[in-house]
Amino acid sequence: MMSNINELFGKELKVINMGLDSFGDDLKEQNIKTVQMRWRPPAGGSKKMMSLLSKLK
């Protein structure tokens, strides 16, 4: 059975960069299709809000 890892090999890499901008910039410099996220902690890091949100999931 071909695992999905082998499927990845030889395919054009298309990357979502979640975090440090520099990693995304480096990929873009090499013409790799990259979406740079503007990630921030869920609920601004508020544990109280995260707990409320998780009750609704």
Binding site: I5, F23, Q36
Partner: protein, 501 residues
Amino acid sequence: MIVTKELNSISGVKEVLVGMGTDLNKELTGNLNLMTPEIEELTPNDFYIAVDTEKEEMVFEEVVSKVDELLSKKAESQTSDYQPATFDSAVDALPDANMVVISVPGEYAADEAKKALNKGIHVMLFSDNVPIEKEIELKKLAHEKGLLVMGPDCGTAIINGVPLCFANAVNKGDIGIVGASGTGIQEVSSIIGKLGSGITQAIGTGGRDLRAEVGGIMMIDGIRALQKDPNTEVIVLISKPPAKEIEEKVLNTLKESDKPAVVHFIGGDPEVAKAYGAYAGLTLEDTAYKAVALSRGEEVVDVVDFTRDKEELEKAAKEEATKFSQGQKYLRGLYSGGTLAYEALQILQEKGIDGYSNIPLKSEFKLEDVFKSKAHTVLDLGEDEFTVGKPHPMIDPSTRIDVILKEAKDPEVAVILLDFVIGYGANRDIVGEILPGIIKAREYAEKEGRHLTFVAFVCGTNEDPQNLEKCEVTLKENGVYVLPSNAQAVRFSEKLISSIK
């Protein structure tokens, strides 16, 4: 971080901390002896600047205006493409994404990785401080779905020729690597490239993959993928020695195909690999040489000596040793790459030198104060104790320069050994930025009537943005001894030390 770096270069600034009023930053502020009741009161939503300086007014004003300048500069450059705020909207923007690179804080990283895996997307998980239970959960999920989870705490990977995070541009070839060590992968893959050969993939597993609890899930899946990969002819494994039962599992997996394998368990017993029919790499460099030999169908030999100019190097070592003044006898290895520092300690130990360190081979050689070197010392400056509140030394050389200058002031220091890790992710002019520190250190020592010898190697390739050759030439032009690998740089350093009468 970048802001801190720029601010530190303002004359009159001894120390500066710029950031939000989080508990961590407050702690750091306390460490810098800059805490005030005002700062205590701050909340994580408050932004503050703390400066240690003699010339209060002038300097502080300059700092504040520089902060403004830098922060608003950053905002401007982001006025281009929309940057999705959530994973879901990122997938909307790139529906056929096949890799997510995650470097967000550890407490959030696992949940984000899970989202990616559930969407069938491979993950490069650079983040550390991810609880091990979450790592296990993620890897089991990835295994089920046949996906990669490279990490947590995975700094290096090269997939389909694309360097991810801290990795080098290495030509394509038929050698596949699976590694649990970032700079380990960097050194091996770079040397393979330098030898004119190349790689198919370099799969990172993160540092904990081979622990008993994790069970080597990613290493085994990686090996199997390389075994199935029609382009891969030779398989290389790099990691610290695994737990016994994991070792068996992993090495048994190698037997599932005929492809030859070179196994390097850093500091481990080479006989182990041989017992499973694999070749044993004795150093990172040797591992690379062996893989290339296998790829070319050449004889596999141990490469554990200087690979060129051996006579010149031995002569140079003897000559240099005569220049030291009375009392200079110690080596200080100041590393940005953890595995490279570790390898240095291994090689020194083989030569009968027990190095002190913040990551010692034996506990009795742990430095009491990591900021006070002792006898022969090798430091991993990428470790937490040195990087609190600062970027990693592969990006920001200021800590290393500080330490270089400190070591230069120690009258017993003779040789300073440095690694220069280039490639993507690393500082684009690491040599140029550290050189002034080297020059200043040398001058200082000379004024005191001492001679300092600098030894270095550059981990990277000519295809890296910094260009290996250019880096090596610049260092040589400035009187630094440049060796082609970590192993050789360590050996040359040892030769220098042992040549001192």
